[in-house]
Amino acid sequence: MAQVLLENVTKNYGKLEVVHGISLDIAHNEFVVLVGPSGCGKSTTLRMIAGLEEISAGDISIGGQIVNDMPPRDRNISMVFQNYALYPHMTVRENLGFSLQIAGKPPAEIARAVGEAAGILSLDDYLDRKPSELSGGQRQRVAMGRAIVRHPDVFLFDEPLSNLDAKLRAQMRVEIKKLHQKIQTTVIYVTHDQVEAMTLADRIVIMRDGNVEQQGTPNEVFERPVNTFVATFIGSPPMNLLPGRVTGGALVFARGFTVPVPHNFAELVAEGQEIVLGFRADNMMPEGHALNMDEASPAIEMAVIVSEPLGTETLLYTELAGQEVQAKMLKPRPVADGEVLTFHLDLAQCHLFDAKTQNNLR
């Protein structure tokens, strides 16, 4: 059983504070993804959990034991590094067995554990190769194999897929998910890729500039982003944001574009308040190519600037209130550039953010 607990964990490099008192409560067997733009302190946080960086303040405990000053080797954790960090002078077999060998396990037991890990990750045919003789995906699997042989309490991943090409990345994503189903262990996974976060996580922790912005299930952070940062970071394409003002019970934007205040937000806005309207491409669709929309959705005539056919749907780039926005066309048909379509905006799915704080009003 390994619950991981972070309480007000802070990291300073000299005078520079890069992680500002983060608190996390990660349950046994939970798959938690730390996601955020590059430089936001994800790796630093992970490395503090691993014991590779000292923590400047706060407490970290693993399995109920405070590990603040415990060296990595005593924490019973495994880590997969971005560049895999395979030992180049050892064969795959030796790489996999290294931790057990260091722990002084008998050769028979090492061989059995290595065999088991190799089986899980289909590495049996490569056991006698050196890392330099493997492809990127195979190296990635060896790195994971090295992590699982010793049955750690916690698995740490630092951007493990970012060196792979898109296709392999998608494939390994599924493998990691399967792996987690097979070997029930707490996982803390760092990535800057929101797709990885959404697809892998039981819970997503979104970080920015050394702070946690929001945490929740993939569904929660997608459906109810707490601020414009999360709203644009999670989901692809990013949420459209239109700055405007509450005027006479309606939302008024540049170029005179006006919509009624969405029902969900009716009580939450004040006359004259500066707001930002957020909606995803899925919530603005051309007539005849949309899902059913609940609310009386305003119809807007707009010219398509560029269309991106993706097969099952087409992304449409248009201009609304002087700003480029993206809309989506289901059951697509070819669209000519400049073609004028009637779009419907699903107000029930929209979000309103305060223009000053950028926080969701709901």
């Binding site: 691993a50 014991g51 590779l52 060296p71 990595p72 080797r73 954790i77 495994s78 880590m79 590094f81 560049n83 895999y84 960090a85 395979l86 030992y87 180049p88 002078h89 290294f98 931790s99 260091i102 722990a103 050196k130 890392p131 330099s132 190296r139 090295r146 010793r150």
Partner: protein, 290 residues
Amino acid sequence: MAMDINQQHRFKTRIGAALRHITLFIAMSIICIPGLWIVLNSFRPTVDIMAKPPVWVPRGLNLDNYRAMFGGAGEGGVPVVQYFTNSLIISVTSTVIAILIGMAGGYAFARYRFRGKSAIFIGLLLTRAVPGVALSLPLFIVMAKTGLIDTHVGLIMVYVAMNVPFTIWLIDGFFRQVPPDLAEAAEIDGCTRWQAFWKVEFPVAKSGVASAGIFAFLTSWNEYALASQLTRSTFSKTMPVGLRDFTSEFTINWGGMCALAVLMIIPALILTFLVQKHLIAGLTFGGVKG
């Protein structure tokens, strides 16, 4: 027409290849001929060595020079075995020490941040800018005062001091190329810091360390200027200094000198040959990004 251009092109390529070979041959000749000349001369009498115009094609080669060298003191013999032993003891010991210090220092420079790091580093390199001979008098005085003249220890200390900046600099470069996450992975796999170094970082960088070792060894093995000042007797004289035994007031025994020089070259060649795999791997490092 097209044929013509093709042929022309092929012709040019061939000329280019030929030119390259000729240039290479000339360069290699310049490098190798003195060495070959020494080997050749060690096998023939002074008459042939001094002949004008020079005798290039060997005639009547023999082992007289070697026989004389190993012979008694009266007939041109020198204590070769003693010199060889001295050279070996001094070079090996100073190399081992310089490598140990070089590894500790190089690793520290590669991995840790500390105050005055770049100043110390530049200081180390600056010591290489001082010509060794310029130090011979001060060194002589210090060694004389401390009674280290004509001892192995004295020369070993000098060579360690000469080689350490270089080994630190070289080994620092090699450890820099070992990704730090290898040691971190090892620590997570259960190693102490010390184990992580010896089980992962050192094996990965060992080719580099070996090439630093070769350079340090050859420097000590071939050093003449300081050794000639700081040694006196057969007790501590090294092979390069021993070469001087062949000069007397009026004559120089070129043949004997060449024979001793050949004995000096052989171990260096053997050593270089033995570790050449590491040497090449070390000099073309960077293939470790597993």
